[in-house]
Amino acid sequence: MIAPHEGSDAPARIDWPAQIHEALRAWEVRQVGYVPDAGHSRLIERCHADPQMVTTVLTTEEEGVALLAGAWLGGQRGVLLMQSSGVGNCINMFSLLKSCRMPLVAIVTMRGEWGEFNPWQIPMGSTTPRSLELAGLATYRVEREELVRETVEVALGCAYDTHCPSAVILSQRMLGRKKWTD
């Protein structure tokens, strides 16, 4: 068996989870719904530790779409953190956003693309960006750590300034390949 390795051309590391957290704070995001993903683990820890944020662990990702619709009706902003496989779970619930013109920001960690090891991740991973676009979310893909914060801020502005739901896609190349040998 071949032991996969970390992304190779890694320059000086940027603490992008901390930068996403700072962006969420700057935009007064108060509710964070998530289904855990390894790529989101540091951001989830930061949100849990932030007294300004209420975190909700979900059993499935579409719960988060309804959660944030309720948050919006109640006057709070929110984000949904999930892995690409969760996008498929959300499809019908996304209709809330279009039907009611509600904002939402999803931050999606990719599987099933760059250096994927598990073939079961390919079907949903390969259709994640198009699924989000078909559901009416503006999608912003990030390949480089130094662009994470700006991209998240743009997505937040898209949602909360223009009421267009948006998604930030964090590429698997940037996240690093999943290691199976630890």
Binding site: L58, E63, A66, G70, L73, G74, G75, Q76, N92, M93
Partner: protein, 201 residues
């Protein structure tokens, strides 16, 4: 009480009367309705800007209530939905049970039918006990309601409980005339936010 609990189907509660009782003297109660008959029942009790009617997003009513209750901890939030809608989002009971919002009540009008699609029997007609699921998920108050007296008790609990509350109200499966509230989502969301926050967008 046992005798009452085994009341025959023909004496089952009228869903419109149940909702009218729950919403009596509603004060500043915020209400979310699941798609289908619960939306019509709440409209029949009187349209209100503090009602948010779902016409789709099946399985999302309880979670929408959680997001709203979280954003508005000083207000009581009541989700009124059907058994089919609740069954589609059963995981929400686990999610709410883990969070334990003190101001959220979930009331399922359980007719044991998918009334909107021809009256097919749901899982609750085959013995699935939603109140037991809710209790297992950590709702401190989780009951099955079968009598008018219990509906009165539930009404008071919905307006005063200090823990997440769940009730499955067994109702008559009769298909009632539809009372249709507005169904434009942008209008309903804007009206709700205007009444609650003073701003539509």
């Amino acid at each position: 009480m046992d005798r009452l609990n085994k009341a025959p189907a023909e004496s089952r509660l009228d869903r419109r009367q149940v909702v009218a009782t729950l919403l009596r003297d509603r004060a500043d109660l915020l209400v979310v309705t699941g798609l289908g008959a619960p939306t019509y029942d709440c409209a029949a009790a009187g349209d209100h800007p503090n009602n948010f009617y779902l016409w789709g997003a099946m399985g999302g009513a309880a979670m929408l209530g959680l997001g709203l209750a979280t954003a508005q901890p000083g207000r009581r939030v009541l989700v009124i939905t059907g058994d089919g809608e609740m069954l589609m989002g059963l995981g929400a009971l686990a999610t709410i049970g883990a969070r334990k919002p003190a101001n959220l009540s979930i009331v399922v009008l359980d007719n044991e039918r998918y009334a909107e699609t021809g009256g097919q029997r749901t899982h609750t007609a085959h013995g699935v006990d939603l109140a037991a699921v809710a209790a297992g998920c950590g709702f401190a108050s989780a009951t099955t309601v079968r009598t008018k007296a219990q509906v009165e008790t539930l009404r008071d609990a919905v307006h005063a409980a200090d823990c997440p509350l769940f009730a499955a109200v067994k109702v008559d499966p009769a298909d009632l005339p539809r009372v249709l509230p507005p169904r434009d989502g942008v209008y309903l969301a804007g009206r709700f936010r205007q009444a609650l926050l003073g701003e539509a967008f």
